[in-house]
Subunit: 405 residues, 2 copies
């Protein structure tokens, strides 16, 4: 090896650290452990039989095209099907507004590539999705966190930060928001708060990223309007994905934006991977075209609703006093807050000993707060594991409370 | 839209230009045009029937895992199968040396992310693969081109550049090489030249990128040893892909390197797209495991050999005097050189009028030379198109020669 390998890496690569959370998650691979840690959809939700049929159809009728290179923008039928869905949600978009990405994570990465120079400020929530924070950080972004209330990102705090920046002649490259069933907080932003945030974006001429992987997994209540639709000025970039509503193993996502921004995404994607795998795009397009997506989505919603209900019931039954949690109207996660003197990272190791795991909440906080919080996933585990896992977790927390009393 | 969108883009994105070649290639979409321009494998080479069976098997026996998220490193069975192949070529590698990428293009992009800070020098061939040049340029690399002789990159010129850089206390981040059936030149580097280049890399402590998409498509002659195997010091990073030997529509590639470098690739890939689609990885693994890859590869080699022979025969028959071309022992491309006073870009527009297309050679030259060269692909078109296309192209060249006489 060359003697100066470390110095040969780029600034970005020299700053890459083995993810602490990844190292912790390795501890959860032990047999018998019930993991609330991942963000995995339930394998029961995968439409295996339908996919057998569609794979055969695609190879039989369109094999030569399905196995060949395809355009960077993505499969036209797939894009048309997606556009149809979003138009039904009130979005005024056409083919020029949508590019397929290799799942949402690529959308987040390309956002970094297109907008972020080292040191550029980005605004995100406290807490916020780790995959987003990491992608932006990999381009050298300086993350500024805005605290949450029960409606999501606080608009008064956002105004203050934007005003202060403006007074210094600065502004953030964008505001990163997950408006529906936020990961990790499980909070949905009501319409009034969405409008407050957009109106700030308009006032300060700032772009908004609407990361929207869970929107369609709503168990109850009314869909809130999409930020993209409320904007109407081309200032919102929306990210979507099939990873939670269909199958993550296809790695299909998309970006919706003003055509001038889509142009940059296409150019950046061309050098990132030329195109998302043609074969899985064609399968997904046909799956949507056949109306199977809607059918399966209903099944997913019913199943996750049941799992959430069961988990909330167990929380109420087993969690000691002083512990609080969000009650999400949809999505895959809820967020738990311990009394401030407890440290979730210390509890993590004890929990793993007792064969239950979660993600420590601090990793979702760009300012190293949130040490007394945890993210709990309820979509992946079975009902039995769901109840048993909560019992174990409650036991670990109770013990820590007693020790600290 | 925000009024300062352009200024909101990153430096990289502001420098992204609509690719001239992409715009030219759009002209080739007209009906009746015979295109030697792309780098597409022949759809006849796709093992559609075998894939029907494997898709069914995977979904039936391993559906839940095949549709789920998977590790960033890639499917273990697939990696094992690939390692077995490379070990049979004399490479001493294990699982710690190989990461799956979303085709080679992602490998090239991650190379940029891991090694290149804006302004960093990179050495490449004159000519060199456009997708590589573009990916490195997107990170702000300063490309230094080394001329070719009939054995590929000239080692005397390389020594001179490395020595000059060293005298200024500098060195390139890496040397980018496509040793087998080079794209676009169609040249294969013989063992002695490989050894010269490696010995320079050792002397000057520089990394080598061995981009190896075509190696297995050899029509005749002996396989030359892989640069990775000749090195033995962990200074070579090898990129592989299924795009030419199996199907490009799966977007599966891989990077082979020293574990310290693979670590960085894994971290960078995690934020780029988390993992390459699980489903297509499992299909590819099973395809290899069943021995179908070898079988189909033989078919591909036989078919492309026939196409190359036919094209060379037509070249000899129809090309006017003063035109020369490479005679590749494998791969997908040959490279044509016109008399120096002819401009391939001008000829391109005339050729499109006459319903034939190629890629102008200058786009493969990082120093804006090569204006009298063209890249010709022979893998995609049918035999009839192959002959007819050469006739048309020869006619266009003859006309230009007569006009300029």
């Amino acid at each position: 090896m060359i003697p100066d390998l470390e110095g040969t890496f780029s600034t970005v690569a020299r700053n890459m650290k083995k993810s602490e959370i990844r190292e912790l998650l390795k501890l959860t691979q032990k047999p018998g452990l019930i993991s609330f840690a991942g963000g995995l959809p339930s394998p029961d939700s995968f439409p295996i039989e339908e996919l057998k049929e569609i794979c055969y159809e695609i190879l039989e009728n369109d094999g030569a095209a399905a196995l060949q290179y395809s355009t960077t923008e993505g499969d036209t039928l797939l894009r048309e099907q997606l556009i149809k869905r979003y138009r039904s949600y009130g979005l005024d978009i056409g083919l020029e507004n949508l590019v397929i990405t290799t799942a949402s994570q690529q959308g987040l990465d390309l956002l970094g590539k297109i907008f972020i120079d080292p040191g550029d400020p980005i605004i995100c929530g406290l807490p916020s999705y780790l995959g987003g924070i990491s992608a932006f950080a990999s381009y050298g972004a300086r993350m500024i966190g805005i605290p949450f209330d029960e409606h999501g990102m606080r608009s008064d705090e956002l105004r203050q930060v934007l005003s202060e920046m403006k007074s210094e002649g600065k502004k953030p490259k964008f505001i990163y928001i997950i408006p529906d069933f936020q990961n990790p907080a499980g909070i949905t932003m009501p319409e009034f708060r969405r409008k407050e945030i957009i109106s700030l974006a308009h006032e300060f001429d700032v772009l908004i990223i609407e990361d929207s992987p869970y929107r369609e997994i709503r168990f109850e209540g009314e869909h809130q309007p999409m930020i993209y639709g409320l904007d109407g000025k081309g200032q919102v970039i929306t990210l979507g994905t099939f990873s939670k509503t269909f199958v993550p193993g296809f790695r299909i996502g998309w970006v919706i934006a003003h055509p001038d921004i889509i142009d940059k995404f296409v150019m950046a994607k061309q050098s990132a991977d030329l195109c998302t795998p043609t074969f899985v795009q064609k399968i997904a397009a046909r799956y949507l075209e056949k109306g199977l997506f809607e059918k399966n989505l209903k099944k997913i919603i019913a199943s996750y609703r049941e799992k959430r209900d069961l988990m909330l019931e167990s929380f109420r039954k087993y969690m000691p006093e002083g512990v609080s949690w969000t009650e999400p109207e949809g999505g895959l996660f809820l967020f738990l807050t311990l009394p401030p003197h407890l440290d979730a990272q210390k509890l993590f190791l004890k929990a793993v000993e007792k064969n239950v795991a979660f993600v420590i909440g601090s990793v979702f906080h760009c300012n190293e707060t949130g040490k007394n919080t945890m993210r709990i996933n309820f979509s992946y585990v079975s009902k039995e594991q769901n109840v048993e896992g909560v019992k174990r977790l409650a036991g670990v927390i109770r013990e820590a409370l007693e020790e600290s009393a």
